[in-house]
């Protein structure tokens, strides 16, 4: 396992870009075709500043960061977060950038507990994101 087995260790920050094209791809792959993720008109009609990313896409990218720290997929035993702030994705080819950081919180004989920090434009977008990884 590549995650350092010591509590309080900060994990290397990872960055992910989300563009409108990514939202279309995620809508197709996940089956979540809610128009707030592709139509500015509908997004604004429900009080959003514009099209926002699927919360589950943001969570998927956070999970990817965890997999990278863990050295590959398949070790996550628990994963959870609240969706506290929308990730607005402008239609400008640049999109939005997510920054995922993490800290090892606890190491037991069986698992490693990690708290995450997921931000976009300087603001936390996930509430209490955390993951539990199997050791070994």
């Amino acid at each position: 396992m590549t995650v350092p087995l010591e509590a309080c260790t900060a994990l290397p920050e990872q960055r992910f870009r989300i563009t409108r094209a990514d939202l279309v791809r995620y809508a197709g792959a996940s089956g979540d075709r809610n128009p707030i993720h592709w139509s500015d008109r509908v997004a604004r009609s429900v009080g959003l500043p514009g099209v926002i990313a699927h919360g589950m896409l943001t969570m998927a990218l956070a999970a990817r960061a965890v997999d990278t720290w863990a050295g590959g997929p398949g070790r996550i035993r628990e994963l959870g977060c609240k969706f506290t702030k929308p990730v607005v994705v402008p239609d400008d080819g640049e999109g939005a950038t997510l920054i995922v950081g993490g800290t090892v919180q606890e190491v037991t004989d069986d698992v490693v507990r990690i708290t995450l920090d997921v931000r976009c434009a300087g603001e936390k977008v996930l509430g209490m994101p955390k993951a539990v990884l199997a050791r070994g």
């Binding site: 998927a60 990817r64 590959g72 959870g80």
Partner: protein, 135 residues
Amino acid sequence: MAVDPSLAGRSFPPTPPYQVTRERIAEFAAATGSTYDGGPAPATFPIVVAFGAMTALMEDPSVGIELHHVVHGEQRFGYTRPVVAGDELTATLTVDTLRQLGGADIIGTRSEIVDAAGQPVCTAYATLVHKGEQP
């Protein structure tokens, strides 16, 4: 329209079996910026199956949810094992909790995802926030 108060504790029928193919996993992995190497599916892949169960809840006319007023508030997964290609998965959703907060219904759901043998794979907990009509 408020959500039916007797919803708490109610279980819904299992979703139709979902065939997990290599193509499905590869498509999901690509959509989240990673590549599929033939091993475990990405950790959030089971949302595809849970989403079917959540949609059935939200579209059930007896429940009283208006789809356009629903926000995904929280998501948690507990895994017994990773999802792999060849799995046939079904999700059975139960409404664990229902409470009102500031004019919104906070619906706590749990979807038990099992394989073709009925063995547990993953439990997906979703909190749905149903905002009532503004006066």
